[in-house]
Symmetry: C2
Subunit: 312 residues, 2 copies
């Protein structure tokens, strides 16, 4: 099956023509300066036409357009319920209408973390696994769950995509979502600087001079033996591992797939979480596996075909 | 619809003949001394015959037998996967066969917390609500979730029934399940004595002399102004409220139903959790409600008809 696939991110928009598990043509659009999705639709359409030409295909041969969007999305109706600060005009756009007019094909839209899970399940780390959750460690912590081969969405499309907003410390830090001590508030890109700034002993740490307090910096300083960095790293590993167990207890999967940019910074993350899950997760039936995502930024794009094939 | 309903607990077994939302006849069997379920089947059958006579009905008029069991149960096949210390012989019993031979009707079995949710949803606090989670505060913390009108069970029947085993404190107390800092390890009947015993200032608290460290004792001492009891009560309220938000973020319900014996001890529990959820839960679509269960110990028994009617 041929499909047009769009992965909308905060700083870039990935566009691709995909055939089943293969990306035939790919291009990335800069979107950092743009707050409106409507203003980007013409560039997306133009890019897609070039990619179709590159793939020697026509839009009419495609099953449809699949969009991964960073917000709360109703895949059943193609509506965007809620955006997270960026692309606030998206809730008013008729994207299925735009797709019909522009390409003459139907459109489906889904939350970006769910798209990444669909991609990894269809073409990546979780091929053939019908019960799988995904954690995406980045600026925030993305979540998604598939149960018996179906994405879990819930009544208002919020189920499982708030996996990073399960509390791991009920007297912890305020989260951007309004809750207290969410995994994301304790160990994600946006919350990390606050965690480090309050750390005891920071005045004698190399982190005090760091131009950027990101996970790359923390893991590098920890590898050099910086005490604060070692302690912060340990705390983050524990938060992610506790969050993985929470997802296992919540959704009963056979596998946890860990993805996102942070996974590149720390080779220690995967073995730590694997060992923690083996020791602490309760699974009467056996042992849930923990694996790294393998598709990187292409995961969401490769979710296109399974999304378009899904029967609602 | 008429049904035979059995609710298997650690110290008592509730038996009933139910017609739709009504209990026609009820009796409770003592089971404290018995470690084997097989040894109780004859008493259950005998009790059911008396209850059928009392209800002026015959077994043949019943749609089936529904059993709520405290363990991990595969409702699709009627198998018990895992028991929690008691009734370990149950995994080897052919309960559907027993029901056919004894009553000539089919049997279904489900986890007891899921049965309580089914009952509250069919005949109690959550009537007409298709998206609802339940927390049962007792010796442990039971959990169950219904999404779009269907119980969530997951691949190995563990989904949602481990709701009390979502961590709320990743550096917290060891849980009986093997995990760290589960809601149940921080604020449930079995873990409460350990929480109190380590509390700073206990030596000058009335709790030091308490014959039983249960929630009734804590709430009573807190009402008298005992400082340790006030602090422990506050901590437990925060744990339960954080657990309620975790369930909302995990399963996207319209309502949280709170049940279990502990709810009788503390009139403060419900308003505290309601207020916390209103302030801290992230629901783009509106406000999840928090309500008390209304069926008490009868909830599980009233889950019989919806369980027997469910299509797998």
């Amino acid at each position: 099956m041929l499909a047009l696939s769009v992965d909308i991110g905060g700083t870039h928009i990935g566009c691709a023509v995909v055939r089943d598990r293969e990306i035939l043509a790919f291009s990335s659009l800069e979107s950092e300066g743009s707050e409106s999705l409507a203003s980007l639709l013409a560039s997306i359409a133009e890019t897609m036409r070039c990619l179709l030409a590159e793939a020697q295909s026509g839009a009419a041969e495609c099953q449809g357009v699949a969009i991964g969007f960073p917000g709360i999305v109703d895949a059943r109706t193609g509506r965007i319920f809620s955006t997270l600060k960026k692309y606030e005009d998206a809730v008013h756009l008729d994207l299925p209408g735009w797709s019909r007019e522009t390409f003459g094909v139907p459109l489906r839209i889904e939350n970006d973390a769910r798209m990444a899970l669909l991609g990894e399940q269809y073409a990546g780390a979780a091929q053939g696994v019908h019960d799988v959750v995904m954690m995406t460690l980045g600026t925030g912590i993305g979540g998604a769950a598939m149960i018996l081969g179906k994405l879990l969405r819930g009544a208002h499309s919020q189920a499982a995509c708030l996996g990073g907003h399960l509390p791991v410390d009920f007297r912890g830090r305020p989260c951007s979502c309004g809750n207290i001590g969410c995994a994301e508030a304790e160990a994600a890109g946006w919350s990390l600087p606050g965690v480090v700034r309050g750390w005891p002993g920071l005045e004698s740490s190399s982190l005090l001079q760091a131009p950027r307090l990101d996970f790359r910096t923390i893991f590098a300083a920890a590898a050099q033996g910086d005490r604060v960095a070692v302690e912060v790293r340990q705390r983050c590993l524990e938060v992610w591992a506790a969050n993985a167990v929470a997802l296992i207890h919540a959704y009963d999967p056979e596998m946890v797939v860990m993805g996102g940019g942070v996974m590149q910074s720390g080779a220690a993350i995967l073995p730590y979480v694997q060992e923690y899950v083996a020791r602490h997760a309760w699974a009467a039936w056996g042992k849930p596996q923990v694996r790294s995502a393998v598709l990187g930024e292409k995961a969401g794009l490769l979710g296109a075909v399974p999304l378009l094939q899904e029967e609602f």
